[in-house]
Symmetry: C2
Subunit: 253 residues, 2 copies
DNA sequence: CGAAGCATTGACTGGGGTCAACTTATGTGG
DNA sequence: CCACATAAGTTGACCCCAGTCAATGCTTCG
């Protein structure tokens, strides 16, 4: 894996994630590498996709963060989910699809066209797995918003992020870099900026998490997960490589 | 469409819904009718599917209501979404899938095996459309929980139900029958039973909705939708029959 | 330097939760 | 037909988590 900014390295993270979802065959890996050579840059804050508009070709995120967003009539904003490196944008199965939410870039975003899977391709399986994880994250978001208090929402969200970034190989230790503002966290968790700030303060005091803008550190993810009753996300049976191998990240205490 | 309880009539509602999602060809309609002849009955309150367990063959709901449920560590329960006649259960694309949530029957439930689509079948498209609607309903659930107050949550939920039941031909006028208790509504909307009761009282007083257990009547769905800024769910471009034809249900004022 | 965005804090308020009682169905068996 | 049990709906009194408003730091950047 070479360094620098040559295209091959650009999609290393995305391939890393997809290959953890299923065993990628030769042809798939080659298709991904080839697709990564034609990447597109989207500046931060730009919209990649507008709710209600036609969905274009599915894109694969090579680097950067994005968010699925919905504007609420009364002026508010709800973030439906986050999109991280290795995630797919606009991958659906129905014909003539319409975007169910807008997608905005939270950072400068590098994307490429997601190569179309051939018949019986392992890529098709990787996409399906990715799609299933997307649904799992939506369900997690629902339980967070519906049945958790402020501090549990934040803890659960941070653990999910750690899990997902670990899947893409982006969370060494219990720390990760992120482009989130407290306002974004508020729009994600259904809270206000003020209350997010207060809750973060409490979590810092209690030694659970340390938010210093741009970076987040969880002192003891396993203990935190246990306390709020969180279990790692699973979408397929633990056969060969069909599960995300992130559990070990949370095992030690 | 004959009356009575012969198998052909049993799946009439499900076929009605799927054929509104896309234009069903002859073979698909025949496959659905045939599948409906071998139906299974699940008593109310029974679990069809357990979170974390392997998912079996995809099922099609012929009649009755079910709910996707997740138990929250601190004793609570969150309903992730409702499953209505014509909806699919356990339809996913990844191999060896694991259920992302439990599914429980809210009423006695009649289901049949969802016939496997052939290559380039219109059934495949119908399933994909149904899947897309499922995602849309999850997103709607997120914005409800994240950014709406109690009365808007109830109004939005009721409008969604009206829209979905109309799609299956089960909501003549602005009234529909349902098996929901106020506790179920509470578990769905992230509120408490007590507060759901109070909010329903207010809505009745204001002439927005009338909850009399077992039946719900919205006096003016279009006005209500306008007030809370709700638009009908759309997942594909309005080409031929690719959109749900429920808009007319909400048009008049 | 000022401007703009983000983080932080305090004082006050209110929507919805909690607790607890009571009523109204809907059975169910004697 | 009534006695009893159970589930669902209804209401009141009280409280608290999180929202609102508003001011003040703290960066970063032109």
């Amino acid at each position: 894996m070479s360094a620098g900014r040559i295209p091959h390295a650009a999609n290393a993270v995305a391939v890393h994630r997809l290959s953890k979802l299923t065993l990628l065959d030769e042809a798939s890996a080659r298709a991904l590498n080839k697709a990564g050579q034609r990447c597109r840059i989207t500046p931060g804050q730009h919209e990649l996709c507008a709710e209600g508009k036609a969905v274009g070709e599915p894109q694969l995120i090579l680097s950067g963060w994005a968010a699925r967003v919905r504007i609420v009539p009364n002026g508010g904003r709800q973030i439906l989910g986050l999109l991280l490196p290795g995630d797919l944008i606009g991958h659906c199965y129905q014909p003539q699809p319409v975007a169910l939410s807008s997608v905005i870039a939270l950072t400068e975003l590098m994307t490429c066209k997601a190569p179309a899977p051939e018949q019986e391709d392992s890529l098709r399986c990787a996409y399906a797995m990715s799609h299933a994880f997307d649904e799992a994250y939506l369900l997690a978001q629902i339980t967070r918003l519906g049945r958790m208090n402020a501090s549990d929402r934040l803890a659960d969200l941070f653990l999910e992020l750690l899990e997902r970034l670990a899947l893409a190989g982006l969370a060494p230790g219990y720390t990760f870099h992120h482009p989130l503002t407290q306002e974004l966290v508020a729009d994600m968790t259904g809270l206000t900026t003020v209350h997010v700030n207060r809750t973060l303060k409490t979590m810092r005091r209690d030694g659970d998490a340390n938010w210093s803008s741009g970076q987040l550190t969880l002192s003891n993810p396993a203990a935190l997960a246990h306390r709020i009753g969180r279990t790692p996300t699973r979408v397929a049976q633990p056969r060969s490589r069909f599960i995300a191998q992130t559990t070990h990240q949370l095992d030690p205490n």
